[in-house]
Amino acid sequence: MVDSAVLHASVSELHGMLTQRQISSEELTQAFLERIDLLNGKLNAVVTVCAEQALNDARRADKRLSRGKATMLTGIPLLHKDIFCTQGIRTTCGSRMLEQFIPAYDATVVAKLKAAGVVMLGKCNMDEFAMGSSNETSFFGTVKNPWDTQCVPGGSSGGSAAALAAGMATLVTGTDTGGSIRQPASLCGITGLKPTYGRVSRLGIIAFASSLDQAGPMARSAADCAHMLTAMSGLDAGDSTSADLAVPDFFSELSGDVAGLRIGLPREYFNDDLDSSVRAQVMSALSQLEKAGAQLIDIDLPHSHYAIATYYVLAPAEASANLARYDGVRFGYRCADPADLEDLYLRSRSEGFGEEVQRRILVGTYALSAGFYDAYFNKAQQVRRVITDDFRKAFQSVDVIAGPSAPGIAFRFGAKQQDPIAMYMEDIYTLAVNLAGLPGLSAPAGLINGMPVGLQLIGKPFEESTILNAAHRLQLDTDWHLARPPIEEWQP
């Protein structure tokens, strides 16, 4: 019988136990599979469990461990967001369109983590095509937040965040196009990093908005995220936008030293619109960093307000082009008994895509259509540069920019579902980071009424180490990241 503490242990702790043969990867994997079995009926965080394959991975990891050839991640159980193509394993992207889709290849992220020796337990639920901030758009049903099962886990990587918080895996992957790692990390009380655009290969990640999409690690701590990011990153010949830059060992860069670190607080984030309880928690986290030697400096990001309008032109426009490939012919859902080719296209797409995905395709198609291209798409690309320049200027006087990850704590199911704009506002603090291609993370900053809230740290391009190190300092000085949801109090 495996001690339940291992379900919430860090990578370093488990690596120590595995290398000292206190536990085998097979035993560990079995414990996590049992945990998934126990909780998934309630949480719906996992859409596909790969028990047999996971146990095979684990036995292979145990052999590697016994040969002394292990990496930090060898034998560590992980769940992938169901947006990453996994060879021979169904990859749905949360959509009816891909309900039966079995990829012929692994995403680069999947292949790299596999090469490091992780054990893949299965695939996590998500908002359909990563379009949503609550996991309510998934074809496979909503994911429940383990801190309060009446509430959403955030999205779109909500299944990943909920699974990690509930101890169903040690590590999970996510993707972030406008906040889809950071907002659910905030709402579920975990640490999640969106790397710089180009740091991690996008090959094999089902495309949403190609100039914004990035995959990243979600884990219990900045240190665990660092281990994972090292394994995930790097130039990939299969992604022409992946960066040709050396990948540091992100973990070894965590000195914990933040003396003299200049942290900018944008006046536009800390204005009167910010919920006072969120402000109090975020400031309490920042004052911890100040105590450790960081300097807090007020800054301006004058065009922050335009991020949401810019994003909701560019992301749907790119999505409408990317999702044109789902035509009911080559792969994916096909309607029954099409009358002709036109009917096949129309019905396969309208039956295969959910409401939010269709709305974004419509908006994107409109923004790209003749007569509107200049007014919407071109204009939004211009404003994207203005927003990016704001960050560039701010980073001349600060090393890190801080703010909330989300405007509030997890909300109840249905609370924002009827109003697309209210839902879009969930990402008000995260969208600009994607537009500017910067790295950003969310780290736990305590609880409000028993529900987690996150601190967002934004870094200069390719300086993930700086924000990971600041979060690591915070996690050396506080125990917010160790808080666990009250799962044991659930009614059977």
Binding site: F101, A104, S320, R349, S350, F353, I361, A380
Partner: protein
């Protein structure tokens, strides 16, 4: 700029999406709300600003035009909803 039901139907056709007549008023209303949101872009002066399509202003990297992957025809065709002898099947197009 508001949007009419006719406009929405036109865009839906371009996007190859079928909207049920009973859903059209609501789809139009929500579409209009999104447009209202993005119309805020008109309040910012971007005269002379170059559009940005990549956050690092990266230039497309090219590779030599050589075959790198193996023949995966069978594996890839396996995902097709309907196929026969290496062809994707669709409803009859030409009478």
């Amino acid at each position: 700029m508001s949007i009419s039901q006719e406009d929405v139907e036109k865009v839906a056709l371009l996007a190859r999406l079928a909207i049920a007549p009973s859903d059209l008023p609501e789809v139009t209303e929500r579409f209009g709300r999104v447009l209202q949101l993005v119309n805020e872009l008109n309040t910012i002066d971007t005269e002379g600003v170059a559009p940005m399509s990549n956050p690092h202003d990266m230039v497309q990297r090219l590779r030599p035009d050589v075959v790198t992957g193996g023949d995966e025809r069978e594996a890839l065709m396996a995902s097709a909803p309907q196929q026969d002898r290496g062809y994707f099947l669709v409803p009859k197009v030409i009478d």
